[in-house]
Amino acid sequence: MSSSVIYEAFWVGLKEALKAGLVWIVLFSFLQVIDRKKLSGFFLYGILLALICPLYVFTLPVTPQLKELISRSIDTSFALFFILSAFLLAHGSGMNLLGAIERAFGKTVIAAPVLLLLSALYFAPDFAGNSVFLMELAEVKESPAAVYISATAGIVFGLAAFYAARKKIRVDFIGSFFGLPQLFLFIAMIKLLGGGIKGFSGISLIPSVQTGFMKFFHDFVHQVFVILMVPDHPLLKTTAWNFIGILFGPNFSSVAALAALLAIPMLFLSHSFLGPVPEPEAETPADRRKIKGLFMSDRKRKAVSVLLFVIFIVVAWFSESGENISKLYIPKPRPVVEDKGTVMIPLKDPTMDVRDGALYKFSLSYRGEEMRILVIKKDDGKLSVCLDACEICPPRGYGQKQGFVVCIYCNTPIPVATLGQPGGCNPIPLHVLIDDNFIRIDVSEILQKWDYVKSGKGKESVK
């Protein structure tokens, strides 16, 4: 056990060093080829700047909030690089979007700080995250020093490997594969592959884009249909909703997510392979052909990293899509009873604690009917208590997935943080009293709202 901790620490160090080394090589080669070698120093300063982050993190206690924050910033940092490269690729595939920016980047005064900042943004979240991971490892191990020494050894080893290989690296050759967008895309991909921190973050790109899409489609289509549709129309009500359900489903959104991620790289690729080739001026047809050939082969080289990215995304999509989405946690409702007009839900008993962040459901049998209540702790520490039903869909209830509760009927993800808001596909909030031991709810409150759900009046009222 203890030796595996040491290995993991070493691995974390090694991984960070390899990643930094790889990015450095690519960036340096690129700068060499465009003859802006001087800029490369600012990348190193950026790494130094990023190092402030773990130094600060080491002074903090490891909390779930901290981990969540870091995990988010890793995703965000990836997204930043991806979006940047997408813009630049769009620029490269014929839409001259960024001429002004390109000119600005030609000036060292502008390029240097941008590079510095980007490099810091690139490394800071990863460094911080790995620091947290090391701190956690250190807690397991009797002698924390060993963990840190091992991690340092990993870093040293990784850097030494690059140092040893520096003569073998053909800077011009590597550099010929990269333009600015490819550079960004490639290092974004390195981040995606090696940026995750063992323990609490992996490649969450596809599912998170997918969830975003699901939410978007749901809100959008709901609005459209609320405006266009007569909800009481018996035929539309069932068939149409079933059909529209496809749009909210994981299949559609995962395809949409794939399309969104691939659209611009594919545009670029098609431009690289099929785009028009300028007819050069030359003395002989052979010379003309040569210039054209060089142009085309350069264009194809520049497409390599984009192609890699596309393949990577497709593979990730196949292996991940649906996986995280379908893992919906649906707890079994625990029975509760009504006593003198009040339902009392214990906050804690030997088998559970509703404040542990998981979704809890309780069922109340009353007047021969079963009504469900859901309880979940929000990020801010408050408990959210709602009916396990919304105003629109049939009351199938909700499941939990990552930071969302998901409507089982229509697959809409609702961020846990927004629970308590009424309307739409949100679970219907209940007015409750919470003391040290119990959640107290008025039965009449539950009854009135459950009746409202059952009657399907919600759909009418949105009209």
Partner: protein, 223 residues
């Protein structure tokens, strides 16, 4: 300065010495024929100039570039841009048709361009046999495809090793007329190896090789 300059070029094979200190200068645009008995070193001389063979000592400068020390791959790059070859045997790829054989040379040079290849074949009078395979072409036609292929990348130097060795007189004449026409139009340098006195009369200069040395060097009237 001369376009081609050989400086005491020697080539020693395991069993024989093919070149013994040859000094030679060829001007740009000149048509030079090399004659001599077999084993006199004329083919070796041609291959050395084309970089297919390397010298044992001495050096070769072509178009201002010293090719003696070049690596095999660097020589290949030099060759595809500046030199065209025609051999005694046609050496066409059997499963490719005429146009594709020409395009192969374009491909290694830079990129293939079908229209240009077709144009080149029309110029050697094969506009009607574009999609025929080598086996469907006569010897003379095959050799004309080879000429089109050799000239497709606009080389400055054409090296021909017994290009008419396998042809009858009629076809030999066609080939030579064609070379003459292209030479006059495009002014590339030709070095042609032959043992046929009829062929050697075409051109501007004849050198006679014997025993690895230049025995005789004469300028003739360009036909």
């Amino acid at each position: 300065m001369a376009f081609i300059k050989l400086d005491s070029a020697s080539k020693i094979y395991e069993t024989a010495q093919a070149l013994r200190g040859v000094d030679l200068e060829v001007e740009q645009g000149q048509w030079l024929n090399i004659v001599g008995p077999s084993g006199s070193g004329k083919s070796t001389l041609l291959n050395v100039i084309g970089g297919l063979d390397s010298l044992s000592s001495g050096n070769v400068v072509i178009d201002g570039a010293e090719i003696t020390g070049l690596s095999e791959d660097a020589m290949a790059v030099f060759r595809r841009e500046r030199i065209g070859f025609v051999f005694q045997q046609a050496h066409l790829i059997p499963y490719l048709n005429a146009v594709e054989n020409v395009m192969l040379s374009q491909y290694f040079h830079s990129m293939s361009d079908e229209d240009e290849a077709i144009e080149a074949l029309k110029r050697v009078g094969l506009g009607h046999r574009l999609t025929h395979r080598p086996s469907q072409l006569s010897g003379g036609e095959q050799q004309r495809v080879c000429i089109a292929r050799a000239l497709i990348n606009s080389p400055k130097l054409l090296l021909a090793d017994e290009p008419t060795g396998n042809l009858d007189r009629e076809n030999t004449r066609i080939i030579l007329e064609l070379l003459k026409k292209l030479h006059q139009e495009e002014h590339f340098t030709i070095i042609l190896v032959t043992h046929d006195p009829f062929v050697s009369q075409w051109g501007q200069r004849i050198i006679t090789m014997e025993d690895g040395k230049i025995k005789c060097d004469e300028f003739i009237c360009y036909l």
